[in-house]
């Protein structure tokens, strides 16, 4: 029989059940505010949650327990969890979770079928043009009356549109604008999960977990189509309908000194959408198809084991072997003349091994030694494909015949504008050793030192040439940390670390792995040289000789015409893909990194706690002339909390983050012998006085160097207070305020040459041919948000409570990126009218909570 | 003071925070006597207040039921008026039996 216990003891020892029901309301609709919380729509919502428990009582010998909990029942963030078990024997769990991600509530498009995988333009769609500028060239700015009615320069003269042009323009506006319809883009994830765990004889624990998550909806996505001479973009509603199934089985056993765990993890991703087809808005007779992420699977087996050699020395070994495969059928069309296999048959083998030895030889000393091996070995075969960019039709001239012979295809199959590209299955292997020692000097003081060595290899199995810019990088890190309790109430921690990453040799030609024809001699090259062999023989890379215009002949002119970058025709790729000499990709460039951190915690009295810390990080990419040059960041946090009375607690915090980065580039184009612009020669500004001097020096013009300084500052202020025991203990009130301000600046140093639009045939003598215009800093991108939350709980009786929640939320953002999405914005991008988020709204709810 | 002047909430809070309620309850004996029994024991004793203040601030030895002795706990507050209030509250409790 159950011993008699007081209500107070019962309340403390027997899990209670609660049921909550209420109603709330949101004052205004906002996708951004409701991004993840399910409160995107104006109007009422249901507040509903439940938690019920049952099973044996705490003081009986019945270990059966069950539990059912559900929350946010009225919102698209609902969650349900249930479990049943006999503790110490088995447990079964179920779960359901939903989350909606609001992408855009301002997106509009003329395409029919948004949400599906075929997007078409209604037959009434007229290709937009700005007739005053060109009667035929597709131009998305033609969708703006402000643009089409304004004057344009026609052969150097400002000319107003003719009535005929206005009629055409108005016809386009009248036909197209009504077709733009608004679509809310959102994605929803739903997740079901189930698990069983069982404690088998001899203390083996077996656990099986499985979950399925579905993601459906649509998100905005760019896309590229081609019109004569230009690439245009359409922001499409990308349909999403995907399922991920995950499955885990774990078998574990633990004894006093050892433990062993074996597990299997499987993940199967299924995409129910293969592709997305859309009509070209500049040429509605044609359409393009894009792939969707391919279905794939991954299976991993792992083994973890630990052994205590003594009370102070322990060894842990872990190992995992995984296979990740993908074999979705390739999409093909007229733009893919050469597709050697019908699917990838992709295989990635991952292996991770880890060995960790820890020991505390004395109470004052702790030592650790870790070795880690982590490999992603992409064993997918390399294949060579040929395709045309953006569905461009094949050129009538055939590709170099030596290339088609090497590919074993008929010369007529591939036009000279084809890309012949080999896949690059990237692999990566990390070896890492870490040794650390912690020494306790006196009570409260300790010193920790650590040294880490890391080596990273990157490669592509089966590639004809090393595919990674840095086939190997090595990094050494030394760190020191000092901790001290300076006073009984004051703790400090100070740490510094320095690392150096070295690249054995940075290969600027690694990109050639993409273009196997660089290893085939175009029949036109003398001596049977391939582009690659020529480069090796002459100490060049894809960027070519770093010199100005020099008339070149023979192989030099074939591979590097006029000392420009590797010629497209010499390696069968439509575009220049080499990068600037001196550009290092930051993830594998030489780097010197310093970090420092200081933390101070002070508790002057029992009720007051103060915290301050600062973090500093600096990365210098020591060998990089272009690309990311350096970055630094520092962060500081200040916080104070006061337990003013037993019933009143206050917290105040502030966080400041400052991040800056510098990167550099160069806007070189091809050296050329062009002497003038419509007969005019003078340049205003820049490094060269005349068009001919500039064009001869394109690759070495210092005025084409640019650099940018990015600066991001964020301030976050928070305040919260909790007041309990108001109105004779019946009322508790909490208040929270949050202010977050972020500003990003982007300063650009450098400039551009632009041709003078007035330098047209017939312009007065001495007209400037081109200007060098300085770059200008980008408008500051800002976001500010305020959140004020108030909650009050009023106890109606010992079993029931009334809960009131109120929130005021405010956000303003400015971001120039949205300017390009408006009507009249970009020439080649169809406008979507998306706008930067902003809201100012109230949410209130009242709920009745019943405990039983 | 008189019973009317006692701030009961404050007294209980102090007793809780000082750990007194681990050994004492208002109406039942735990390791230490029930407070109402203490009140009964001192009823009418003019020295009661002073004696108990001394008891809860000095850490003097007390004898437990099982016979062991230890230093008695001390009230955790620097404010004499709060201690007086606590003691007054204890003494104000009704219904105990003096042993």
């Amino acid at each position: 029989a159950e011993p008699a216990v007081s209500d107070e003891v019962r309340a403390l020892t027997v899990p209670g059940n609660t049921l909550e029901l209420g109603l709330g309301g949101v004052s205004d609709s906002s996708f951004k505010f409701g991004e993840y919380n399910g409160l995107e729509d104006e109007g009422a919502f249901l507040v509903g949650s439940l938690a019920v428990h049952g099973g044996g009582r705490y003081n009986t010998d019945d270990a059966t327990r069950w539990k059912l909990a559900a929350s946010n029942l009225g919102l698209s963030t609902r969650n349900v969890a249930a479990e049943y078990g006999k503790q110490g024997v088995f447990r079964v769990t179920f779960g359901y979770d939903e989350i909606r991600r609001n992408r855009s509530d301002s997106y509009s498009t003329p395409y029919a079928g948004a949400g599906g995988d075929i997007l078409t333009l209604p037959s009434s769609w007229l290709v937009p043009v700005v007739p005053r500028v060109s009667a035929t060239a597709a131009n998305a700015r033609g969708l703006s009356a402000a643009v089409t009615t304004s004057s344009a320069l026609v052969t150097g003269v400002l000319t107003a549109p003719t009535p005929a042009q206005l009629t055409t323009a108005n016809g386009i506006l009248a036909a197209d604008l009504p077709l733009f319809a608004h679509h809310d883009l959102t994605t929803t994830r739903t997740r079901y999960e189930a698990g069983v765990s069982y404690i088998a004889p001899r203390q083996w624990e077996i656990a099986v977990n499985t979950n399925r998550s579905d993601k459906t909806g649509a998100k905005p996505m760019g896309s590229v189509s081609r019109v004569t001479g230009a690439d245009i973009s359409t922001i499409l509603a990308d349909p999403i309908d995907q399922t991920t199934d995950q499955f885990t089985v774990t078998l574990a056993k633990r004894t006093r000194a050892n433990f062993l765990q074996l597990s299997y993890y499987g993940s199967k991703f299924t995409n129910h959408i293969d592709s997305l087809t859309w009509t070209n808005w500049a040429n509605p007779a044609t359409s393009m198809t894009m792939t969707s992420a391919p279905s794939n699977q991954a299976h991993t087996l792992s083994l973890n084991a630990g052994h205590d050699f003594s009370r102070s020395t322990r060894l842990v070994l872990t190992g995992a072997y995984g296979r990740n495969t993908q074999n979705a059928v390739f999409l093909t069309d007229a733009s893919t003349p050469l597709v050697p296999t019908t699917s990838l048959n992709g295989l990635v083998v991952t292996q991770t091994y880890n060995l960790k030895l820890t020991s505390r030889p004395t109470n004052k000393l702790a030592l650790g030694l870790t070795y880690k091996f982590d490999e992603r070995d992409n064993r997918t075969a390399v294949h060579t494909f040929s395709y045309y960019d953006a569905n461009e039709p094949a050129a009538t001239t055939a590709i170099n015949s030596a290339f088609s012979a090497a590919l074993g295809v008929s010369p007529t199959l591939l036009g000279s504008n084809a890309n012949v590209n080999s896949s690059r299955p990237y692999s990566r292997r990390m070896n890492q050793v870490t040794a650390d020692a912690t020494l306790r000097l006196t009570s409260g003081h300790s010193l920790k030192g650590a040294y880490e060595w890391q080596s990273l290899d990157r490669w592509c199995d089966g590639s004809w040439i090393t595919c990674a810019d840095a086939a190997n990088t090595r990094e050494n890190t030394l760190s020191l940390e000092w901790r001290a309790n300076l006073l009984a109430t004051l703790d400090t921690r100070l740490s510094v670390s320095h690392s150096e990453r070295d690249v054995g040799s940075y290969n600027e030609d690694a990109f050639l792995a993409l273009v196997p024809m660089a290893n085939v001699s175009p029949s036109t090259a003398t001596g049977g040289l391939s582009a690659y062999a020529y480069m090796l023989a002459n100490g060049l890379n894809g960027y070519g000789p770093t010199t100005g215009l020099v008339a070149t002949t023979g192989n030099q002119n074939l591979f590097f015409p006029l000392n420009n970058a590797l010629a497209n025709a010499a390696y069968a790729n439509q575009n220049r893909i080499s990068e600037l000499t001196g550009l290092r990709r930051y993830n594998m460039a030489d780097r010197s990194r310093d970090k420092a951190k200081i933390v101070v915690e002070w508790q002057p009295t029992e009720v007051l706690a103060l915290h301050a810390n600062a973090d500093y990080r600096k990365d210098d990419f020591t060998e990089s002339r272009y690309g990311l040059i350096d970055s630094r960041s520092w962060t500081t946090n200040l916080e104070g909390s006061l337990a003013a009375t037993d019933d009143l607690a206050l917290t105040l915090f502030y966080t400041y983050e400052n991040q800056r980065a510098r990167s550099a580039g160069n806007t070189y184009t091809a050296n050329s012998a062009t002497q003038n612009v419509n007969g005019f020669t003078a340049i205003a500004g820049g490094c060269f006085p005349t068009i001919s001097l500039r064009n001869a020096s394109n690759k070495i013009d210092p005025c084409l160097d640019w650099s940018t300084r990015m600066l991001d500052r964020t301030h976050t202020y928070g305040f919260s207070s909790d007041r309990k025991n108001l109105l004779d203990g019946k009322l508790a009130v909490g208040l929270e305020l949050l202010l977050s301000r972020a500003a990003s600046d982007n300063e650009v140093i450098g400039g551009n040459y632009v041709n003078n639009p007035l330098a047209v045939t017939g312009a007065p003598a001495g007209t400037i041919a081109a200007y060098y215009l300085a770059a200008a800093p980008l408008p500051t991108v800002k976001t500010q948000r305020w959140d004020a939350m108030l909650n009050a709980r009023y106890a109606l009786s010992s079993a029931s409570t009334l809960r009131f929640d109120y929130r005021y939320a405010w956000l303003r953002a400015s971001d120039y990126a949205y300017e390009g999405m408006q009507f009249g914005g970009l020439t080649g991008v169809l406008p979507t009218s998306e706008t930067a988020p902003h809201y100012s709204l109230h949410v209130a709810s009242l709920a009745y909570q019943y405990r039983f | 003071g008189t019973a009317a002047a006692v701030d009961e909430g404050k007294a209980k809070m102090l007793a809780g925070r000082s750990g007194c309620l681990k050994c004492h309850a208002q109406d039942k004996a735990k390791e230490g006597p029930a407070y109402r029994d203490v009140a009964a024991k001192y009823r009418g004793n003019p020295e009661a207040q002073a004696k108990l203040i001394q008891h809860v601030t000095s850490g003097e030895k007390v004898k437990f039921a099982d016979g062991h002795e230890e230093n008695h706990a001390i009230v955790k507050t620097p404010k004499p008026e709060d201690i007086t209030n606590l003691v007054d509250w204890i003494l104000s409790l009704e219904g105990g039996t003096a042993k």
Binding site: F269, A320, T332, T350, F385, E639, A774 | N71
Partner: protein, 298 residues
């Protein structure tokens, strides 16, 4: 740690609960609502399993009236048992599985013990529920708290995700206490569509998601480390980088208006800079499986 003689039953607990009962300001007895309090499961601890036999505390042998002799094991930071002893007590039952790599881990080596995050006496331990878990971590990781309030975040502030979805705070084989063997493997548990392998892999993606993304919050959506086009231009100078991207190339900028000479109908911003910038066209930035997708356009 635990002496064999400890009586883990309710009767055994009475050695403590006769003093520490419902009158406690903190709900000591609420432990009986938790899994530790399921006495019918013989694996669960009694008071003395965790706090030690504590003879001295029960009889207050050395204590002055002002401060009682402490139990053998007390949990918390200041003036409590050594962190190693605290953690050792819990590890007596919980070593292995998720805590296999506790020793030498980032938290352990800073003397953060289990009770630094776990509240075991409360009916519900805040660190075990998504709603309250981040607040526990923010007690120390305040920068991450600020980041979850930036414009682009994971649904952390909305409590649909918690820190432990990505981190194993008890120790891990990978840097930054990632829950899986690497950052990418961790991301793939929710973003399996990025796993591939794709026909055309984008090298930095196969390498590490954090080459471009920052996980807790960013001023650049979606969770990017830098704004596009500069994010891309930190690695790509070739092809269409042949104009500087600056405000001079925006619609009203000096370059777009050719120094003020181009009227409205002629001037337009660069597609590489405005709207989605590089992502106007290179959309399958995580890799493409289209035979014509080498440039991540299809």
């Amino acid at each position: 740690q635990e002496s064999a003689a400890v009586d883990r039953t309710l009767t055994g607990d009475a050695a403590c609960t006769r003093c520490h009962d419902e009158s406690e300001t903190k709900p000591i007895l609420a432990m009986y609502k938790t899994r530790h309090g399921v006495k019918a499961d013989e694996r669960t601890p009694g008071c003395q399993s965790c706090h030690g036999a504590s003879e001295g505390h029960i009889r207050n042998t050395g204590g002055t009236g002002a401060k009682r002799t402490l139990p053998d094991v007390t949990f918390g930071v200041r003036g409590k048992s050594d962190a190693k002893l605290q953690a050792g007590t819990c590890l007596g039952c919980h070593e292995g599985s998720n805590r296999a790599l506790w020793r030498g881990s980032q938290h352990e080596s800073r003397d953060i013990a289990c009770a630094g995050c776990h509240t075991v006496h409360a009916a519900a331990d805040p660190v075990l529920t998504k709603l309250s878990q981040p607040d526990v971590c923010f007690g120390c990781h305040k920068t991450q708290r600020a980041q979850t309030h930036l414009v682009s975040t994971h649904p952390l502030a909305a409590a649909k995700m918690a820190c432990a979805d990505c981190h194993n705070p008890h120790g891990s084989t990978s840097d930054h206490l990632m829950a899986k063997a690497s950052v990418n493997d961790t991301c793939f548990t929710c973003h399996a569509e990025k796993r591939g392998p794709f026909l055309w892999e984008h090298a930095p993606v196969a390498d590490d998601c954090t080459n471009c993304h920052t996980p807790h919050g960013s001023t650049v959506a979606p969770l990017l480390k830098a704004r596009v086009p500069w994010l891309c231009q930190e690695c790509h100078s070739g092809d269409h980088a042949n104009a500087v991207n600056s405000a001079a190339n925006l619609q009203d900028g000096a370059v777009a208006t050719a120094g003020g000479l181009n009227p409205l109908a002629n001037s337009a911003a660069r597609a590489q800079l405005a709207a989605r910038a590089c992502l106007n066209c290179h959309v399958l930035i995580h890799g493409s499986n289209h035979p014509a997708g080498a440039k991540f356009q299809r």
